[in-house]
Every structure is written in C-alpha cells, then in structure tokens.
C-alpha cells in the first residue's frame, strides 16, 4: 500500500513501458523501472542514451507516447502540485538567475515550494551551509567558479527538503574538490531520508554512491541491479595488465589456452589478460610469465567495472 502522507511508502517511483519518440528517433524504448524509498538510484548511460529524456518525462515536462509514470503512488502530471512539492530537481544545465545573489537564488526557488517566510529562511540557511556557500551568499553567480555554481544549482534544488531528489549529471565540468563535496552531500541527503535519482555518464561516481543502478543505452534499460549484481551478470572476473616490451604471438596463444582465460591481447606494450571468475587467475598468469621468461615492468590486476559490464552487453565503451 502506497501512502503519500502518513510517512510510509516503499515504492517511490514506478515507470512502466515508457515510450518517447522524437519523430523517427525512438528516445525511450519501453523503459520500465521502479525506485524504492531511500535508494540512490543511478541512471548510467552514454551521452544521448535517454537519461535526461527519462527524467523530463518523469517530471511531466515532456509529453510521451506511451507508458505510465507514478510518483509516491500517484500519476505524475503537470498539475500534480502536491507531488511536485515533494520533489527536488538539480538540472543538468545550471539554472539560476544571474541578477540574484546566491542567497536570493536559493530563497527564490525555495519560495516556490515553501510559503512560510520564517521556515524558508531557516531552510535557505541550512542549504547554504550544506553546499558550503556561506562565504559566497552575497555573490552573484557570475562571480562563482564552475564548481561553486554547480553547488548553488544543487542548493536551489534541495533547499525545500524534498523527499525525492533528482540530480541530472550534477558534476559535469566540476573540479575534483567540488565533485567530492557534491557526492558527499548526496550521500548525506540520502542518510537524512531522501530518495535520490542520480544520472551520470561517469561510472566511477555511480559506482561510488548508488545503491542500485540501471544501465541505459539507446533508450532501453539494458541491465538493472546493484553494482555487484551487474558485475555478476558478465563472464569477466578479473583483468590483469602486464607492461612488457615484447610478447610473441605463440606466447599469446599459449596464454589463451590457460584455464579460465577469456582473452589475451598485446597492444601498446601492454599485455592484457581477461579471466573468468575465480580466485587464482593472477597466480596462473605470474607462473606463465616466469616460465616463458617474459620481461615485464609493472603488473596489476583489476576487478571488472561498470564500463566492462556496458562493454560486454553493448559491445562499446560507456564514453564512446
């Protein structure tokens, strides 16, 4: 049973068979997913995969051709003001007024949701503290760096303490310091009880903060689950890289014949061996190198990433 008031609901978002076309282009192809309360749900996909389109449909900004969208158990429409009051959006492009100061911008957007002046003042101060813009509250946006501007963009979206926060690529063109601050902030918001939808094409970020991830490509959901579940879907268990000056074709063939080895390639003076799931892959490779007397510099092993998941399912890299 879903309740918007009374404090208990489990499923926050339900999207069923969402289809969106731009003329001939199928932007969303029967997209289906659900998001539970207090999740950080990652929408991961390359640029143009349909992430922002999905978000805009979710927010009832875009008309769609088919499908159903429910938020807090109710159909999401442009007139669903009670639902909108519970949602905070941080758009991909910074959307603030250049004529207003940091404080005024946050107060303006917060005021669209919260009418009580006293409460609003408290919320605005909290949001400024939260994104670390206290020293910049009287600055105009033009005076802020890219990272600070992104933080302001976030503050404008979360000041009214929404139950559902949608962040659409909030770290694009942000310096590492601000990026970490933003990611920490999202985790903190989630800890405070907010459900988060986080879209990005940066797999590291999604892996770092999301409790569940949906990988999307060409408008289709190609895999959904926790990062562990997604990685478990693929055959790759380990990737071993050996920096070596010379490896013969015959040695490569022998490597490929080793147990649990999926592939072995030599490119740019790097021998890359991909193995299936197992516990002694590195040991096998080291024994082989020793036996074949292959000269090497560094050797390191990596567990599969979401990019590997995407690569194995679609045949291309996330940032292609």
């Amino acid at each position: 049973m879903l309740e918007i008031q009374g404090g208990v609901w489990k499923m926050i978002v339900r999207v069923q068979n969402l289809v969106k076309r731009y003329g001939e282009l199928l932007a969303l192809d029967h997209l289906t997913f659900t998001i539970d309360e207090k999740e950080i749900f990652g929408l991961l996909g390359p640029n143009g995969s349909g992430k922002t389109t999905a978000i805009n449909c979710l927010l009832a900004l875009l008309a769609y051709d088919k499908g159903e969208i429910e938020i807090f158990g109710r159909p999401m429409t442009p007139e669903a003001y009670e639902l909108k009051r519970q949602i905070g959006i941080v758009p991909q492009n910074v959307a603030v007024y250049n004529e207003l100061t940091v404080y005024e911008n946050i107060d303006y957007f917060c005021g669209l949701y919260v009418h009580d002046k006293k409460l609003r003042k408290e919320l605005v101060h909290e949001a400024i503290e939260f994104v670390g813009l206290k020293d910049f509250r009287h600055y105009y946006p033009q005076k802020l760096s890219g990272g600070l501007l992104r933080r302001l963009n976030i503050a404008c979206g979360i000041a009214h303490k929404p139950k559902l926060i949608i962040l659409d690529e909030p770290t694009v063109a942000v310096d590492p310091q601000s990026r970490n601050k933003i990611l920490e902030g999202i985790l903190q918001l989630n800890t405070q009880g907010a459900t988060v939808i986080y879209t990005s094409h940066y797999m590291e970020e999604v892996e770092q903060i999301c409790s569940r991830i949906m990988i999307i490509d060409k408008g289709r959901a190609i895999a959904t689950g926790t990062k562990e579940e997604l990685k478990a879907m693929i055959t790759l268990g380990e990737k071993i890289t050996v920096e070596s000056q010379y490896v013969t074709e015959s040695q490569l063939n022998k490597l490929r014949a080793l147990p649990n080895v999926i592939s072995a390639d030599y490119k740019n003076k790097q021998l890359i061996i991909k193995s299936g799931k197992g516990s002694n892959n590195l040991e096998l490779v080291l024994d082989f190198i020793k036996k074949e007397k292959i000269q090497f510099g560094k050797i390191y092993s990596e567990l599969p990433t979401l990019n590997d998941v995407f690569l194995e399912i679609t045949g291309k890299h996330l940032r292609d």
């Binding site: 805009n56 009832a60 003001y81 005021g111 669209l112 009418h115």
Partner: protein
C-alpha cells in the same frame, strides 16, 4: 505570486538591458530629436521684412504709396520695417544684406531693387504689384467717374471675407510633436522586450530556468502573470520618467488632457508588453531571432507612423488607410496627437479602442500558445 513578483522586479531592476532599451535609449533619442528639430518651427514663424525706401521728391508725389507702406508697417503682424533713406544709403544697406530690398520712385515709376531671390523678395514684389494694380484700377475708375473720389477710396480699404474659417482645434499645429509622439510609442513597444523575456522565462523548452520553474508546484499562468506584472510596473515607471523628461525638461506640449495622456501611456505600455509576449510565444526560434523580429516589426511600425519622416504617416493614411489602423505604433502616436490637437475625443477614442483590441488579441494569442502543460521536446 507575490514572491515571484518581488523577485522578478529585483531581477529586472538589476538587468541593464531592461532599463536601457525601454527608457535610457528613448531618453537619448529624445535629446537628439530636440537638438535636430528645435529650429524646425522657427522657419514657419513670419519675421518682419526689412525694407528701405528712397526718400526723394518723387516719393512725395506718391502719397498713396506712402500710406500703403505705412499701413503695412504697423501692428503686431506688420509686414515691413521701413527705413527711409537716400539712394546711396539704400544701396549700401542692400549690399550689406541689412534690408531685403529697397523701393525708389522715379517719375511715375516705382522700382524695386533686390539682391537675391527668395520669399521676402517675393512678398515685397507681391505687395508692390498689388499696389500698382490697385492704383491703376483707381485711376481708371476716377477717369470715368470723377464725382465721388472719397467714397471710392474708403471702399478700397474695405476687405470683406466671403468664406469663414472655423478651426476644429484650439491648439497650434506643430510639425515636430509627431516625432516625439512616435518616440513615446516606440518606447511603449520597446516594452515588448520585457514581455518577450517573460515568456522565455516560463516556457520550459526555451530555457533551463523556465524548466526549473515548470517543475515547481506553481501554476504556470500565475507565475507568468506575476512576472508580467513586474515587467509592466517597471515599464510604466520607465514610461512616466520618459514623459516627465519630455514634458518638463524638453518642454514638449501634450495638450491640456493630462489624464488621457497618462491613460494612453498605461494602455500603450500594456500593448507593447503583450506584443512582446505574443511574438515570443509565436516564434519558435532562438531568443536572438525573436529579438530581431520584434525589433524589426517595431521599427517598421515606427517608420510608418512617421518617426523617421513625418510625411510617411500622411501618405499611409491617405493611400493605405487600413495599414494605419493595423499599425499599433501609429495608433498610439495618433492617440497622443489627437489629444494634443483636437478639442473632442472622438479620434482619440477610436485609436485607443483599436489599440486595446490589439492588446487583447496579443494576450489571447499568448495564452493559447503558452497554456500547454507538456512539451514535445526540450
């Protein structure tokens, strides 16, 4: 709504463009107009003609000429300022351009000497021709009927008007006022830039900011009306500053109907803003393209209303009268001029009614376009 209204007003007051185009630019233009046109009316004011008359014996034999000259040289609107002098001095005055010409009576002949051709010389010649013609007529009549010369002479000076001139106005015609009135109309329609902005800030497919506002739990129309209200208030303030500047600094005459001048400005400002919102909603192009279209349409309207060349207004009214009524800038200009020139309000009300209809159509068009709640693409 009040929250949005206050913040929109703050934004507008801090936005240099929204202050420059509807207010600062027309103020600068008004000063240029004043510099350019301040001498225009002076050319239409008649100035007494300096005329020298050679004082000699032959002149004494022409008492009627002396009387006619004397009559033309008295009163507030006298034709000549006479200088009786010698022939040499008269010639010298003519060479120095101190007089426009001089008269010399030689025997029975009256000669006119001028150095140039022009309106003053033509007036002197016309006066002289008139005198000579009348003198010849009198001589002819007296030769045939010599009985009552006094009666004839008294009737000669009698001028009877058979056509009565009735003025429809108590105001003086003023050719430069139309330029200033088109300037005010232009400033009103420059409010369109503010209106254009308001639509851009509410249509989610036009800016990320608008998308953000659309996502908030605020009725789109309410948000639009709050922004429009703020823009209108600012624009009205700008317009009244412009009016005060024109009236009290440049001394532009608006006639005695101040209330109607204010009313016209309020409606003109509303029409300008609503025109901008309509163009912005209608044109599905980038903002720069919308601005270019709005600017072109407004300036074309100003041109046809006589801003750059006053005659155009009359040419349009005479040859394509429909265009005069389809041009809101012209309607506004004409409303101001009607208030100044006509004693009755008929023409003014006609202009204002059509302008109000236009403004309402612009509002309706804007509403029909922006009322949609979802977009096909962003």
């Amino acid at each position: 709504m009040w929250h949005i209204f206050v913040y929109r007003l703050k934004c507008l007051l801090r936005d240099k463009e929204s202050l420059f185009w509807p207010m600062v630019f027309p103020l600068i233009l008004a000063m240029f107009f004043q510099l350019a046109f301040s001498n225009l009316n002076k050319g239409e004011i008649f100035q007494t003609i300096e005329l020298a008359v050679v004082e000699n014996e032959d002149l004494q034999n022409e008492p009627y000429l002396k009387t006619a000259l004397a009559q033309a040289s008295v009163g507030e609107s006298k034709l000549f300022h006479l200088t009786f002098t010698s022939q040499a001095e008269a010639e010298k005055l003519l060479q120095e351009n101190a007089v426009s010409g001089y008269l010399e009576v030689t025997g029975k002949q009256v000669k006119l000497f001028v150095n140039d051709t022009g309106i003053r010389q033509s007036i002197i010649k016309s006066f002289l021709d008139n005198y000579l013609q009348t003198a010849a007529t009198v001589n002819t009549i007296l030769a045939k009927n010599p009985q009552k010369p006094e009666q004839l002479l008294s009737r000669l000076s009698e001028r009877r008007q058979f056509v009565a001139e009735v003025s429809g106005t108590s105001a003086e015609p003023n050719s430069i006022l139309n330029y200033f009135y088109t300037l005010i109309a232009m400033a009103c329609f420059y409010g369109g830039f503010l209106g254009l902005n308001e639509v851009s800030r509410i249509e989610a497919n036009l800016s990320p900011l608008a998308a953000r506002v659309n996502i908030a739990p605020v009725h789109k129309l309410k948000a639009f009306l709050a922004g429009f209200g703020a823009s209108w208030l600012l624009h009205l303030t700008e317009m009244f500053i412009l009016l005060c500047f024109l009236r009290y600094v440049l001394q532009i005459d608006f006639g005695p109907k101040s209330f109607y001048v204010v009313l016209t400005t309020i409606i003109g400002s509303f029409a300008g803003l609503s025109f901008g919102t309509f163009i912005s909603a209608l044109v599905k192009k980038a903002e720069n393209m919308k601005i270019a279209i709005l600017f072109t349409v407004t300036m074309t309207g100003c041109f046809l209303a006589g801003m750059m060349y006053a005659e155009i207004k009359y040419l349009v009214s005479r040859h394509v009268p429909v265009l005069a009524y389809l041009n809101p800038v012209n309607l506004l200009t004409d409303a101001y001029y009607s208030l100044y020139y006509y004693d009755t309000l008929n023409r003014y009300l006609q202009n204002l009614s059509v302008l109000i209809i236009f403004a309402l159509l612009f509002c309706l068009g804007t509403y029909l376009i922006i009322r949609r709640r979802k977009y096909a693409s962003l």
